[in-house]
């Protein structure tokens, strides 16, 4: 099956139809489609996207908006130049979501990084432990409420 850019675009149309009520928002940025979804369909929609030709998981990261965590998956393809930024909101007091390691093995280290720095729990991850910080470090540094006596807030304008 020859995969090309038109088939990648068609994949976006297909998932739009299939998950119509669980997709909260789709918009186009410069060369990425930004898709906001509900957490429940993460594993299915990523499997459909992988089958359609999006075979590169470039990064997994999170943003701490003060009332929730927004997970961002950067999904790209070696068949075309467009990509997808898949965004999932999860509540701050119970931060957990399914792991996509079974779909893209690259997610292994990226999800460990998000666990290390944000404290988000990835269920079914084969090896969830800290990757940058020592194993006995307490706290999750990239959260907005993480403080340390050495941290000094710099002025907001110059």
């Amino acid at each position: 099956m020859i995969k090309n850019i038109h088939q990648l675009d068609k994949a976006i149309e297909d998932v739009k139809k299939k998950y119509s009520n669980k997709i909260l928002d789709i918009r186009e940025a410069d060369s990425e489609h930004i898709i906001q979804i509900e957490p429940a369909i993460l594993l299915e929609i990523t499997q459909d996207l992988k089958n359609a030709g999006y075979n590169q998981l470039s990064f997994v990261t999170a943003v701490d908006n003060n009332d929730k965590f927004a997970l961002v998956y950067g999904i790209f393809s070696t068949y075309g130049k467009d990509g997808i930024l898949l965004k999932v909101d999860i509540p701050r007091d119970k931060p957990e979501i399914g792991s996509v390691t079974s779909i893209w093995p690259a997610a292994n280290w990226h999800e460990r990084e998000v666990f290390d720095l944000f404290g988000i729990d990835f269920t079914d991850h084969p090896d969830l432990r800290r990757i940058f910080l020592p194993g006995d470090w307490e706290g999750h540094p990239l959260r907005k409420d993480f403080t340390h006596p050495n941290m000094v807030r710099r002025p907001d304008h110059y």
Binding site: S58, V63, L85, P105, N108, W109, F132, M151, D156
Partner: protein, 366 residues
């Protein structure tokens, strides 16, 4: 009664052959590696957390220190993401200057890696030859921005200074010199019988494994996947230049070294074309404020660096500091395949494989 057991040893963070601070926990049976677990984080400086406390312009020197051998490329990917976020345009001359600087950085990085590949296998001469050539390239960077390593040269909307007089002639002379030297290094290193014996068939990475683990850059192209962002997802003005993308055949260490040397030749072609067709004009869009306050939103931008795909994801909440700043580093994904490809190799081969995958721990650990 005689019995054997596996020994667990540490190829620790301080080691002359791991090219940075990497701890490899090896389980060995005699001299053969049975299992390898990499541990990283020894150079973690919390740059992403620091960036949440700096204005957008103050983050540019921070990006220098990520992949510290190729500062121009790091600066460029960050500036490109913020330009998307804030809608700043870049004049033609600045695009050409950025391309020339990035390609010169690519030559620097590949020269160092070639020297390192030789030094790991015991050939010290090639390392000194490559470092000598790197000094000549650093002279060029010092002419342009005053610094040899951490350049801090790219700004939002262009570059910080114009090219000085004499830069074009010196670069053309250096390109001619490097073209001859690349042929010499190929004869000296890649055609050497001992280097071939130590590298061919070692560290094989298949196409499917490479894509599945997020590997990018020369390592991916050595596994014969034709994917180079400069050709397949062109950014800036790369679609105006005529160059090829070298591919390997079998995905072993020798192919990675060959791909990198060929990429030096292609970079020389791009630099020559850019110097010939560079227009005059402004080198920076006027009117970009020193304290930039972009509209709330997000942007992702990616470019092809010497080690792979670099990307910056930046989220703005309307204030002078970013809400979140994330750097997608190539080395992080590239060395995640180490547990896969080190099985069955001997301990000295592990040093060669790490050198050929070419991580830079400034960007792996951030």
């Amino acid at each position: 009664m005689l019995r054997t057991e596996d020994i667990q040893i540490n190829m620790g963070p301080q080691h002359p052959a791991t090219h940075g601070v990497l701890r490899l926990e090896l389980k060995i049976d005699g001299e053969v590696i049975v299992e390898a677990t990499p541990h990283i984080g020894y150079l973690h400086r919390g740059i992403e957390k620091i960036a949440e406390n700096r204005t957008y312009t103050q983050i540019i020197p921070l990006t220098d220190r990520l992949d510290y051998t190729v500062s121009m490329v790091n600066n460029w990917v960050y500036a490109s993401a913020v330009e998307k976020l804030a809608g700043i345009s870049v004049p033609e001359r600045a695009e050409y200057i950025r391309v020339i600087m990035a390609e010169l950085n690519r030559i620097v990085s590949h020269l160092v890696t070639t020297g390192v590949n030789g030094m790991d296998a015991g050939a010290f001469t090639i390392w000194f030859y490559c470092i000598r050539d790197r000094e000549l390239l650093w002279d060029l960077f010092e002419m342009v921005c005053g610094a040899r390593l951490t350049h801090n040269y790219i700004r939002f909307g262009g570059v910080s200074y114009d090219l000085p007089d004499g830069f074009k002639e010196k670069t053309v002379e250096l390109c001619e010199y490097l073209r001859k030297k690349t042929d010499e290094y190929e004869d000296l290193l890649l055609k050497n019988y001992i280097f071939q014996k130590r590298n061919k068939g070692i560290g094989m990475l298949s196409k499917e494994d490479a894509i599945a683990h997020g590997v990018t850059g020369p390592t991916l192209r050595a596994s014969s996947v034709n994917w180079d962002l400069r050709k397949n997802a062109p950014y800036s003005i790369y679609n105006r230049f005529d160059f090829e993308v070298p591919l390997g055949e079998s995905g072993d260490n020798w192919d990675r070294a060959k791909v990198r040397l060929d990429e030096i030749r292609q970079s020389i072609r791009i630099i020559r074309q850019a110097l010939n067709s560079m227009p005059g004009g402004e080198f920076k869009t006027p009117g970009v404020p020193r304290t930039l306050k972009p509209e709330p939103g997000e942007a992702y931008s990616r470019i092809e660096g010497p080690r792979g795909e670099y990307g910056v994801y930046v989220v703005s909440d309307g204030s002078a500091k970013p809400l979140r700043w994330k750097f997608r580093s190539a080395g992080f994904s590239n060395i995640s395949v180490l547990p896969l490809i080190l099985k069955g190799l001997k301990i000295p081969d592990a040093a060669l494989v790490i050198g050929a995958l070419d991580p830079c721990f400034g960007e792996v650990d951030r």
